[in-house]
């Protein structure tokens, strides 16, 4: 459909990808937040965006989520160029974003959070509470979580379960693309495993998933494509067949820098 010169020939191009970024750039005044970043997301696949703090991951998410709009380059959705000017627009286009901290109002019940912003109404804005509760329980069950009481406050759920409420919500509301912002960053090993399981579940249900993380060990097992960001620029955009886990880790950590760091640490530790 659209010719992309910079796209590595890792994947045979069948249909137009759900989302395609072509040399996207974003500037804040004199600061280059993101420059010439190119990647794509296919339905039923997971694209991982890796990068350290300050690499531009947040800017990347916010462009897709409609919080910022890009200054240069092309953003294509199913082959059509788009530019979002509000989170509402991005959501209407089928892009759902699950933020690590911002996802939920903790004192509100599961069903209220589940339908927040998209309440099923009967007349005069009255919520169909019975339907809302039933759907919330059903959809959570599809993610493998048994909710006994949809009135339970979301704040009483564990971190992984809260993520899963947000993911189940996005899937139910017809998201085509699910963006997960560091969903495993604040979680322990076991809880991270739970979230990875939900990512796979969402992928198997045909969504394109964008998984933002700084942990290559979480990214590699679930990812089909890897975009590595560093200081606002792309270090590479690889299909899984093009890169091994060790290479990914190496690239992510910035090989030479890591060596310099370990020298530095040694020199600090030794004299003491």
């Amino acid at each position: 459909m659209t010719e992309v010169a910079s796209e590595p020939a890792g994947r045979d191009s069948r249909a137009a990808p759900l989302i395609e970024l072509q040399r996207i750039s974003k500037f804040f005044g004199g600061v280059i937040a993101l420059q010439n970043v190119t990647t794509s997301v296919q339905a039923g696949e997971v694209t991982c965006v890796l990068g350290d703090n300050g690499a531009g991951k947040s800017t990347f998410i916010k462009i897709l989520a409609g919080v910022h709009s890009h200054d240069d380059g092309h953003l294509l959705m199913e082959g059509h160029p788009v530019k979002f000017s509000s989170p509402r627009e991005a959501k209407a286009a089928g892009i759902a974003t699950v933020y690590q901290d911002l996802a939920m109002a903790p004192l509100m019940s599961i069903w209220r959070n589940f339908f927040l912003g998209s309440e099923p109404t009967t007349f005069l804005g009255a919520i169909d509470v019975r339907k809302a509760k039933r759907v919330a329980v059903e959809e959570m069950a599809k993610m493998g979580i048994d909710v006994r009481d949809p009135e339970q406050a979301v704040g009483t759920l564990s971190g992984g379960e809260r993520q899963s409420v947000a993911i189940a919500r996005a899937v139910y509301f017809g998201a085509k693309v699910l963006i997960l912002d560091e969903p495993t960053a604040a979680l322990g090993v076991k809880q991270s495993g739970v979230v990875l399981k939900y990512i796979v579940a969402a992928r198997d249900r045909g969504l394109g998933v964008i998984f933002i993380t700084h942990n290559p060990h979480h990214a590699y097992p679930v990812g089909d494509r890897f975009l590595i960001l560093k200081r606002g620029t792309s270090l590479g955009n690889f299909a899984k067949s093009e890169i091994s886990r060790d290479e990914l880790t190496q690239l992510m950590a910035g090989g030479a820098e890591l060596e310099a760091l370990s020298h530095e640490i040694e020199s600090v530790v030794r004299p003491a």
């Binding site: 989170p87 509402r88 959501k91 933020y99 911002l102 996802a103 939920m104 109002a105 903790p106 004192l107 509100m108 927040l116 912003g117 998209s118 309440e119 109404t121 005069l124 804005g125 009255a126 919520i127 509470v129 069950a141 599809k142 993610m143 493998g144 979580i145 048994d146 909710v147 006994r148 009481d149 339970q152 406050a153 704040g155 009483t156 759920l157 564990s158 379960e161 899937v171 139910y172 509301f173 017809g174 322990g188 090993v189 076991k190 991270s192 495993g193 739970v194 990875l196 399981k197 579940a201 198997d204 249900r205 045909g206 942990n215 060990h217 979480h218 590699y220 097992p221 679930v222 886990r245």
Partner: protein
């Protein structure tokens, strides 16, 4: 739209990580519960101290009417507090709206009906200004509305002195169309024996019902909880956070107008600093009703019980022949008790619940299962390194 056709993960049989909460506990932590108990205790106290008056129809009418008058503004203040904001200019709105209606009716010679509409529009405009200033500046509403409070107080005194040479507007009761205003805001609704019950009580009950329905049963109510509980999250899922907050400030101002009109048509004159200082009573009523100062939690019905507590105490202390200063002492103490109780409930509701002792083994075996799922996906060394990283 829905994903019924898509294959789903097999549901876990029973998830022990989710605590079961009994219906009794769920009732006890409802925001209304504390205020209901408090109102019952206060009623009982004065029933024992001033039995003959307290149980009579005229005594009942007195404290219900006082409570209703507090509630005209306090219920809206409760909604605003659930939405995460304060309005310190809510008290002075009583005098402000009364002054404008009075000036329009007496000194501009307009029909009272027109004066009512114009003062309502001014009130709504003040609400919009409050709301827009708070939302756009992202300053705490405490400071923004404190500024509005002083500005209005000074403006009211200045304007009335310019027009009438005193700090009140008199003669409303002889202006054209006064009967319309009196009937709407200050007439007697019904009589029991020789005791009249004022129409303000009807306004109060209607506001409590409508406010409660909107909060708990409509999408706007869901948005109010959400902008108070987590404004950024609400915005991210498409809730019109700005509109919701500005709407709440307008609601407070419009309810302040109703309050102002009731006072105006009960007395037939407007004292322009009427209501100054009452903003704190409105906040106390909301907190007694279980509303969190930080927003995101609370109840309109609870705030209505909070108003009853205020009204009963206000009338009960003189009826029981106690020293009037005890009123403030009492308010201070119950405010602290309510605030501590609310905070305890908030902490309980926002920390992950722990499974009971007997279930620990089951939970652990399930955790093992999850761990193996995780390690099957995160191949071999991945998990170990991740553990070290944390």
């Amino acid at each position: 739209m829905t994903s019924a056709a898509v294959p789903a993960l097999p549901a876990a049989p029973v998830d022990e990580r989710l605590a079961r909460s009994s219906p009794v506990i769920r009732f006890l932590i409802r925001p209304e519960f504390g205020a209901l108990v408090g109102a019952a205790v206060v009623w009982g106290l004065f029933a024992s101290q001033a039995r003959s008056v307290w149980l009579s129809w005229s005594g009942t009418a007195t404290y219900v009417e006082t409570s209703a008058l507090f509630g005209l503004t306090a219920l809206a203040v409760a909604l605003l507090m659930i939405g995460g904001e304060f309005d310190l200019s809510s008290g002075v709105m009583t005098g402000t709206t009364g002054m404008f209606a009075g000036l329009f009716a007496v000194h501009s010679g307009l029909h009272v009906g027109v004066a009512l509409v114009l003062s309502l529009l001014i009130a709504a405009a003040i609400g919009v200004i409050n709301g827009v200033m708070v939302v756009k500046s992202r300053l705490p509403s405490f400071i923004v509305t404190l500024g509005m409070f002083f500005a209005l107080r000074g403006f009211n005194l200045w304007l009335t002195q310019q027009v009438t040479n005193q700090s009140q507007v008199t003669g409303v009761d002889t202006s054209s169309g006064y009967e319309l205003g009196r009937r709407l805001f200050a007439s007697e609704l019904f009589h029991i024996g020789r005791t009249g019950f004022k129409v303000a009580i009807l306004w109060f009950v209607m506001m409590a019902l409508i406010g409660s329905l909107v909060l708990t049963r409509t999408k706007v109510g869901n948005w109010i909880y959400a902008v108070g509980g987590n404004r950024d999250a609400a915005r991210m899922v498409g809730v019109p956070a700005t509109g919701t907050k500005v709407g709440l400030f307008v609601t407070v101002a419009v309810c302040g107008w109703v309050h102002g009109m009731v006072v105006l048509f009960q007395t037939g004159r407007s004292n322009v600093i009427e209501g100054v200082g009452q903003e704190f009573y409105f906040i106390i009523a909301a907190v007694l009703g279980g509303c969190l100062l930080t927003g995101g939690f609370g109840s309109v019905v609870g705030a209505a019980f909070g108003c009853l507590i205020l009204g009963m105490t206000n009338q009960g202390i003189p009826l029981a022949n106690w020293d009037n200063n005890l009123y403030f002492l009492f308010l201070g103490v119950i405010l602290l008790v309510a605030a501590f109780a609310n905070e305890a409930i908030r902490r309980w509701a926002s920390t992950a619940s722990r499974p009971s002792q007997g279930k620990i083994a089951e939970v652990e075996s399930e955790a093992e299962q999850l761990a193996s799922t995780a390690s099957a996906m995160v191949d071999r060394s991945g998990v170990a390194e991740d553990g070290a990283e944390r």
